[in-house]
């Protein structure tokens, strides 16, 4: 094995190869942003042009346009290069309007909350 020399300290996995490409950015809160990378820095702060948020609930999805976005690097999980030769989403998924996806999101949230509250009510039974 060879170990790092003094010049290697400045090596970085650069986002430069992703500049001006359409990317998928996953954020820590679970959001998925798509857009063209225009700028970045050593903290993985990024500027996305023509950004949109792709909201997915089950088989439904909707792209909500956001415009020019500056993303703080600490929120970034992953930056993925979209292969233009492939479909961005599986073919069975259905594109719906923003209002409908918001309704679907709320329904999913309510179902999760209900499941959580039911579990809490059952906890006293000490079944497991």
């Amino acid at each position: 094995m060879s170990w790092a020399g003094p010049e290697d300290i400045f090596l970085s996995t650069s986002l430069a190869s992703y500049l001006d490409k359409k990317l998928l950015v996953l954020l820590r809160d679970g959001r998925k942003l798509l857009g063209i990378l225009r700028s970045f820095d050593q903290f993985a702060n990024a500027v996305l042009e023509g950004a949109c948020e792709r909201v997915i609930v089950g088989d439904l999805y909707c792209d909500i346009p956001l415009g020019l976005y500056v993303i703080r690097g600490e929120n970034v999980v992953l930056i993925g290069e979209l292969d233009l030769e492939r479909e961005e989403l599986p073919p069975h998924m259905i594109c719906v309007s923003a209002a409908e996806i918001r309704r679907a999101q709320k329904a999913e949230r309510d179902a999760t909350d209900l499941k959580g509250s039911m579990r809490k009510r059952m906890e006293f039974l000490d079944l497991d």
Binding site: M1, R28, V76, E88, L89, M93
Partner: protein
């Protein structure tokens, strides 16, 4: 610096990176940096059906701060050299 150097030796090998949000990606290690940010090529998500939005992502950059595990090929690890290097670091190298 030890792990940075160690990962540099693994460039070109196939690894599976498991993230803190439970997403796991398998791919060829393309590059790594001092923050242990990772660039993967030829990426496949381990549980494709759960992450439909990732279906066309083949190359990605993963921020070092969100990595939980990096799963390595068993033959990619020379344990003795790793032990020696760790002892050297611990001694104050």
């Amino acid at each position: 610096m030890l792990f940075f150097s160690y990962f540099k030796e693994l460039v070109g090998k196939e690894v599976t990176v498991e993230l803190k949000n439970d997403l796991a990606m398998r791919g060829i290690l393309h590059s790594v940096d001092q923050y242990l940010n990772i660039k993967l090529e030829n990426t496949r998500v381990v549980d494709q059906d759960k992450y439909p939005h990732m279906s066309s992502v083949r190359n990605c950059f993963i921020r070092g701060s969100v990595v939980r595990y990096v799963q390595l090929p068993p033959d990619g690890v020379d344990i003795d050299i790793l032990h020696d290097a760790t002892r050297r670091e611990a001694r104050g190298g």
